[in-house]
Amino acid sequence: GAGVSQTPSNKVTEKGKYVELRCDPISGHTALYWYRQSLGQGPEFLIYFQGTGAADDSGLPNDRFFAVRPEGSVSTLKIQRTERGDSAVYLCASSSAGFTDTQYFGPGTRLTVL
């Protein structure tokens, strides 16, 4: 079956622009996670959805970051007024239930803010 997919694979934008990153989880997985990973670092937790609701958004760095999952499947991470420090690989993962289950990661979106 299909794994987690993310689009686009690469995104280059200018400082101050708005970007949307999309994640398609594994079919039937109720839990969805967003992370970002900078070079040489581990994934940094951003937000966790259980179904349609954000169960934990404590990792979002500031109010420029927002994520939705309106139908409990596809999720979009939205970043407003991008800054150079937002450059990273944004990883999405899904699991069948919650944190005690295996998280399957997507290939990531490499965001570069010029």
Binding site: Y33, Y35, G40, Q41, G42, P43, E44, F45, Y48, D56, S58, G59, L91, F99, T100, D101, T102, Q103, Y104, F105, G106, P107, G108
Partner: protein, 107 residues
């Protein structure tokens, strides 16, 4: 709070063993181990849910200590395919990953 991993890097010859440690300042609900190869997504290795639990498959195993604040990953008779960066993820209602341990296995 991010867990602390040690060592930061290790270089092995094929067939040698390695231990990677992961510690937290707080008791954990679970510990997850992942391996990531350069330019790829992290790949799941195993989850430990209970203090005192040990798990393994092939020649990779892990333990989760009784006080649930430390985990170790054991790689025995390492193979070239084991090369990559190993991350532990610790769960207390969210997921925090360590900075990683870069493992290089040479022929």
């Amino acid at each position: 709070q991010q867990p602390v991993q040690s060592p930061q890097a290790v270089i092995l010859r094929e067939g040698e063993d390695a231990v990677i440690n992961c510690s937290s300042s707080k008791a954990l609900y679970s510990v997850h181990w992942y391996r990531q190869k350069h330019g790829e997504a992290p790949v799941f290795l195993m989850i430990l849910l209970k203090g005192g639990e040990q798990k393994g498959h092939d020649k990779i195993s892990a333990s989760f200590n009784e006080k649930k604040q430390q985990s170790s990953l054991y790689l025995t008779a390492s193979q070239l395919s084991y090369s990559g960066t190993y991350f532990c993820g610790t769960e207390r209602n969210d997921m925090r990953f360590g900075a990683g341990t870069r493992l290089t296995v040479k022929p």
